[in-house]
């Protein structure tokens, strides 16, 4: 394997910083959801802003690397991939903040949240593993993410079906479960995008996974 140029090492250190920040914010949001704890969105927002700031720093570093080093081949792919992954992680930070906003707005103290909490845990692990796949350039790890994303999509549809058909359930519980499940489903999509960027980095072949599948249902 080729030695990594210094500018890519710096960019990857920033991505590791983002991964760590996502772990921390994810853990806090998981706890807020399990406990239906109101009033956490302000602190989570601050953490999400930190992730956005790192995203901007990575963009600056990538632009500087393009100008100063005019990278080609694997190095060029790595720059474009880092830009996209950084954006994906910033989106995930935003989604995690959105979960706490929903808890603040909807409440749902008495609501059942076992399934959406489990889905959130899975999506967090997917993000973490997709980042590990990127750092290790692990083809198998990256390729497996599509399968895991399909499972999350299926679970999201099951949550919607369940609450659509349920009677004698509080409106706030329907809202909490439907909205959080939707956000978690989007988070898992971003894990999938990150893994697909890793696959492009490893193979040099582009996939069009970000485009919507209009007839998937």
């Amino acid at each position: 394997m080729l030695a990594e140029p210094e500018y890519l090492t710096e960019i990857n250190l920033k991505l590791k910083e983002m991964q760590e920040a996502i772990r921390n914010i994810g853990s806090a949001v998981q706890s807020a959801l399990l406990n239906r704890q109101k009033g956490t969105s302000a602190s989570i927002c601050a953490m999400s802003q930190t992730i956005h700031r790192i995203d901007e720093e990575i963009t600056d570093k990538c632009v500087e690397a393009l100008i100063r080093h005019q990278p080609f081949a694997g190095d060029l792919r790595n720059i474009t991939v880092a830009l996209k992954i950084s954006y994906d992680l910033a989106r995930v930070g935003r989604y995690l903040y959105n979960v706490t906003q929903i808890i603040d707005d909807v409440g749902g103290e008495d609501c059942e949240v076992g399934e959406i909490s489990s889905m959130l845990e899975e999506a967090r692990d997917m993000i973490d593993q997709s980042m590990n796949g990127y750092f290790k350039k692990d083809y198998a790890l990256a390729e497996n993410m599509t399968y895991r994303d399909d499972k999350i999509d299926e679970r999201y549809r099951q949550v919607l079906s369940k609450y659509k058909e349920m009677k004698n359930v509080k409106g706030e519980c329907i809202m909490l479960n439907a909205l959080v499940a939707r956000i978690v489903e989007r988070m898992a999509d971003h894990a999938c995008y990150i893994s697909n960027e890793s696959l492009y980095l490893i193979t040099g072949k582009r996939q069009t996974i970000r485009a919507p599948k209009c007839n998937e249902r």
Partner: protein
């Protein structure tokens, strides 16, 4: 009959005495395209293009094997005149080499005069047309009688291209044409190379991989006399198939 390729290099090998410097190079060059040849110093790039217009054979002890087909005719066929090959496949060198004792206009038409064209009006008309096609006319139109060596290095290089174009070649070979030029002159020459491909095929040797990426449609990477990879420039610079190509263009070795 449709000619899919302007130039076909088929199993080309070259030697200087006992030393083999090119090893069975095969490439198919589409018409009206720009091809960049890249590779570390001494890898055989210059020898390759010198084989393409039969200049290699002018060196004592030099020898060539294989075929080079221009429009399906082997330029190494015994019936083919080497001078005619050099008219069809022109060359521009690393350092601009205008004839210093000739005016700008005479530089452009020097080859035509040698080949027997004498009509002054026609020659002037060709000179103006070619100076315009290399973007030099507006810069020199008021000093056409000045020496070809009196203009700047960048202008001299474009003058040499105008001189090559005046012979109406099918292909122009350029051996590091911008290595002695400043950034502004380099930009003008790169722009000219892009323009030229509407008329002819251009093969350009460059050590500047950025330049290869900017100006060419196809890129060939040569290493130790072998063609390691040849393909569309976008593919070579985004996802090279050979790890050696990747190492070279990312600056891991040179």
């Amino acid at each position: 009959m449709i000619m899919p390729y302007k130039l076909e290099i088929d199993g080309l090998s070259a030697w200087f005495d006992q030393k083999q410097v090119l090893k069975k190079i095969s490439m198919k060059i589409p018409d009206k395209s720009v091809i960049a040849l890249i590779g570390p110093s001494g890898c055989g790039k210059s020898t390759l293009i010198r084989c393409l217009n039969r200049m290699h054979e002018l060196i004592p002890g030099a020898r060539v094997e294989g075929r080079v087909l221009l429009d399906n005719v082997d330029i190494y066929d015994q019936k083919v005149d080497a001078m005619e090959v050099r008219r069809k496949i022109g060359m521009v060198f690393q350092k601009p080499n205008p004839f210093p004792n000739m005016s700008i206009v005479d530089n452009v038409v020097a080859g035509l005069k040698l080949s027997g064209k004498k009509n002054k009006k026609d020659l002037m008309s060709i000179a103006e047309y070619r100076l315009k096609s290399v973007g030099l006319w507006d810069e020199v139109k008021d000093e056409l009688k000045k020496s070809g060596a009196s203009i700047s290095g960048g202008q001299q290089q474009r003058l040499c291209i105008a001189r090559a174009l005046a012979m109406e070649p099918d292909i122009i070979l350029m051996d590091e044409p911008t290595s002695a030029l400043d950034p502004a002159s380099t930009a003008k020459l790169e722009e000219l190379v892009q323009k030229l491909k509407s008329e002819i095929t251009v093969m350009i040797i460059t050590h500047n991989v950025g330049q290869a990426a900017r100006v060419s449609d196809y890129t060939a990477f040569i290493y130790l006399g072998e063609l390691i990879e040849f393909g569309e420039t976008k593919q070579i610079f985004e996802s090279p198939k050979n790890p050696l190509t990747e190492r070279y263009i990312t600056g891991r070795f040179g």
